[in-house]
């Protein structure tokens, strides 16, 4: 079944993969190597001196119950962001796919939020839910609900999840929409003739056929939730209240660039790298088995 192209010599293949190898080396392996090296030291902020502490930074981190709690926070956050960005995207894509007229307009409108930078999106949502002047929190107040994400853990988590997922829905929509378009009409029509109604066709035929896209999006969205949501958290909650929204990547930033504790920050980025690497391996090993190409 596997389609494989074979080259005769080794010069051409080497030449062809060289750009990718070079880019990976410069932008990934070198900085990642630096992070691993730095994680073994406690340097002073100005780089005047550094003490070798071996795995001391890791011991310090893993001995800290608040750091360990941050793993659970990150897991909840990533799961929710992935769900909240993929499910509505799929739903919207299915609806847009059924449109006969004007699907171009819907498509364009749905893609717009993706153009908004995470930090800007964060500010946008922060203003809507501002406890004092926010439109949404005012409306909730009218309904008798006292919105206060400044002190309420769950509300804060909900807010950063929605703000992070919002722009992502567009991205996911785009991929789902393209995937739906490529599902062969003949298969769907055949099922329709057999009497399968819309949702039956969707779950029985369409969904299995777009699993490669869904899997790709799952991996990409988890990575997004882990690394790129920092701007949203920074602008909306800065990790609070208490540590309710302090996810791992936010702590890397806070300890490194606010606290000037570069040793701990480097150790955290190494741990984060391992966690995401492990998650990706798990996804490829177990989830991909259920993907039909």
């Amino acid at each position: 079944m596997e389609k494989r192209v074979t080259f005769k010599g080794w010069l051409l293949p080497l030449f062809l993969i060289a750009p990718q190898v070079l880019i990976s080396a410069v932008f990934f392996f070198y900085p990642a190597g630096q992070a691993v090296w730095q994680s073994l030291f406690i340097p002073d902020p100005f780089g005047l001196s550094a003490q070798f502490v071996g795995l001391g930074n890791f011991e310090f981190l893993l001995g800290d119950p608040y750091y360990r709690a941050s793993f659970a926070t990150t897991a909840v956050f990533s799961l929710l962001v992935t769900l909240c960005s993929m499910v509505p995207a799929l739903f919207l894509a299915v609806i847009a796919d059924r449109l006969i007229k004007g699907s171009g307009v819907y498509r364009t409108l749905l893609i717009w939020p993706y153009a908004v930078a995470p930090a800007v999106a964060g500010v946008l949502w922060m203003f809507m839910f501002n406890t004092r002047v926010g439109v949404v929190s005012w409306y909730l107040g009218q309904l008798g609900y006292d919105w206060n994400h400044v002190l309420n853990d769950n509300e804060a988590m909900g807010l950063v999840v929605v703000a992070s997922a919002w722009g992502r829905v567009s991205y996911n929509f785009l991929f789902f929409f393209a995937a739906l378009q490529s599902v062969p009409r003949s298969v769907i029509e055949a099922a329709a003739i057999d009497g399968a109604h819309f949702w039956r066709r969707f779950f029985g035929i369409v969904l299995p056929l777009i699993t490669p896209t869904a899997f790709f999006l799952l991996v990409v969205n988890v990575v997004y939730a882990f690394f790129e949501t920092f701007g949203v958290i920074h602008t909306i909650t800065a990790g609070g209240p208490q540590q309710a929204t302090t996810i791992l990547v936010y702590k890397v930033f806070a300890d490194g660039f606010v606290g000037q504790d570069l040793g701990s920050s480097a150790a955290q980025s190494v741990i984060l790298l391992l966690v995401v690497g492990l998650l990706t391996v798990i996804q490829f090993k177990y989830v991909e088995k259920r993907v039909h190409y």
């Binding site: 406690i42 340097p43 002073d44 005047l48 406890t131 004092r132 400044v150 609070g240």
Partner: protein, 436 residues
């Protein structure tokens, strides 16, 4: 990669001003925008116009934390400015970086520019002076917390706005009356750790940290879980529970609530003056920060917040001469008095304060001298000289988290502060290790 980024950042800012003549250039990085940024630019222009040997180039580098980061990154890339503005929280970090900074007293002595460290008021000078009495950085903008009163809100709730609010006992009674009178937001605060723990401790003459609040050594430990602090936080927790103290956030978010007239009392920096004066459409008043009569028979002094100017190492001798001239200009009485009157920051030299009083400024703007009196009423003690703690920005973050646990009712004040102590101490030990 960080180094590379830093050098690009630094190069892009250093490359911009091109000077044709032989003036020696002095770079000055600061954290001020808006009106404050304009005032800094004015000071620099005034200095540049006053002589022809040196040219000071000022650049804005983001907020306080970002400016400190930019300075650190630039130093690592060997592109550091001559003068860097560092907020009071970063003081210990700068002091520990012996190879990266040049003490101000040394720069001033070498440059031969006129400079008298004793011109500065004690509480300000003490913050930036080594234990040997040498001034390490030049105080620039300093403020201290005070109590802001919305007199109209008091009247609306049927409470006498002239009532004595000098003690927390009285404030507690006022909060009860305000709440009973239908006020939804009796008390709000800004900078909770700075006001309700750091200044609270100094004001009641109890230690915030051991080793003279960190002045006497890096092996300091937090002492913010003492009985005085716990008593205050317990009262605050009760007020929060009863809806008399409204928590709005870790920074100065509460300012918006107060300026719009929603809240009756507001504990905030004296530098909030400009904003409140510009926006408040109600009758407001400045009162001294309250104290607990049960804890101290009379208040000690409060401590400062704000920033100082640090001279960074690695430049030429004639450039340091220019730095000396500029700092000497900044500490002159006229410049200081104008800065104080324009910004609401404290007059940090004795002379500037007297000049301001003589010009009738305090009579025309009542309450602007409350902060000055509150800070200078008493000779600072070891507990009220200031704070010098490593990783202090992070420790404040921890304190903010623990205070939020108190306001939300998740932890008792004792539990929360015990936890803040053990978490903060862990960071202090790391700082000691990195800089010891």
């Amino acid at each position: 990669m960080k180094k590379y980024l830093a050098s690009v950042l630094a190069a892009s800012t250093l490359a911009s001003p091109v000077v044709a003549n032989a003036q020696t250039e002095v770079n000055f990085w600061h954290a001020f925008t808006g009106r404050l940024g304009e005032l800094v630019a004015e000071q620099v222009d005034q200095f540049n116009a006053s002589q022809s040997d040196y040219k000071v180039v000022q650049s804005h580098k983001g907020n306080y934390s970002e400016t400190l980061n930019a300075g650190i990154a630039a130093f690592r890339a060997k592109e550091q400015p001559h003068i860097l503005m560092v907020f009071e929280v970063g003081t210990a970090t700068m002091m520990a970086a012996k190879g990266a900074v040049r003490p101000v007293y040394e720069v001033m002595a070498e440059s031969g520019a006129s400079f008298d460290p004793n011109a500065y008021i004690g509480a300000v000078k003490g913050y930036y002076t080594s234990t040997d009495g040498d001034m390490l950085s030049l105080p620039f903008n300093s403020s201290t917390p005070v109590l802001w009163v919305n007199r109209d809100a008091f009247k609306a709730a049927g409470v006498d706005p002239d009532m004595d609010l000098s003690t927390w006992e009285n404030v507690g009674a006022a909060l009860d009356a305000l709440k009973a009178g239908g006020e939804d937001c009796p008390l709000v605060t800004a900078w909770q750790s700075w006001i309700h723990l750091e200044n609270f401790s100094a004001y009641h003459n109890v230690p915030f940290a051991s080793k003279d609040n960190g002045f006497a050594g890096l092996d300091t430990e937090l002492m913010l879980n003492g009985p005085a602090q716990i008593a205050h936080l317990t009262a605050m927790q009760d007020w929060a529970k009863e809806g008399k103290f409204i928590y709005t956030g870790r920074r100065n978010e509460g300012g918006a609530n107060f300026r719009s007239g929603e809240c009756a009392l507001f504990t905030e920096s004296s530098a909030g003056y400009a904003g409140i004066k510009a926006e408040a459409k109600f009758d407001f008043e400045v009162r001294p920060l309250p104290y607990w009569k049960a804890v101290a028979s009379e208040p000690q002094n409060t401590i400062i917040g704000g920033a100082s100017l640090w001279v960074m190492s690695g430049h030429e001798a004639d450039e340091y001469k220019g730095v000396g001239e500029f700092l000497s200009f900044l500490s002159s009485s006229d410049v200081q008095a104008a800065w104080h009157q324009n910004t609401g920051y404290l007059p940090i030299t004795v002379e500037a304060g007297e000049a301001t009083r003589a010009a009738g400024f305090y009579d025309q703007n009542p309450g602007t001298d409350v902060a000055v009196k509150q800070m200078t009423a008493k000779q600072p003690t070891a507990n009220s000289k200031g704070l010098r703690l490593g990783s202090f920005d992070q420790i404040r973050g921890i304190i903010d988290e623990e205070l939020e646990a108190i306001w939300a009712g998740d932890k008792s004040p004792q539990e929360a502060m015990d936890s803040a102590k053990s978490r903060g101490d862990a960071l202090l030990r790391r700082f000691e290790q990195a800089n010891g």
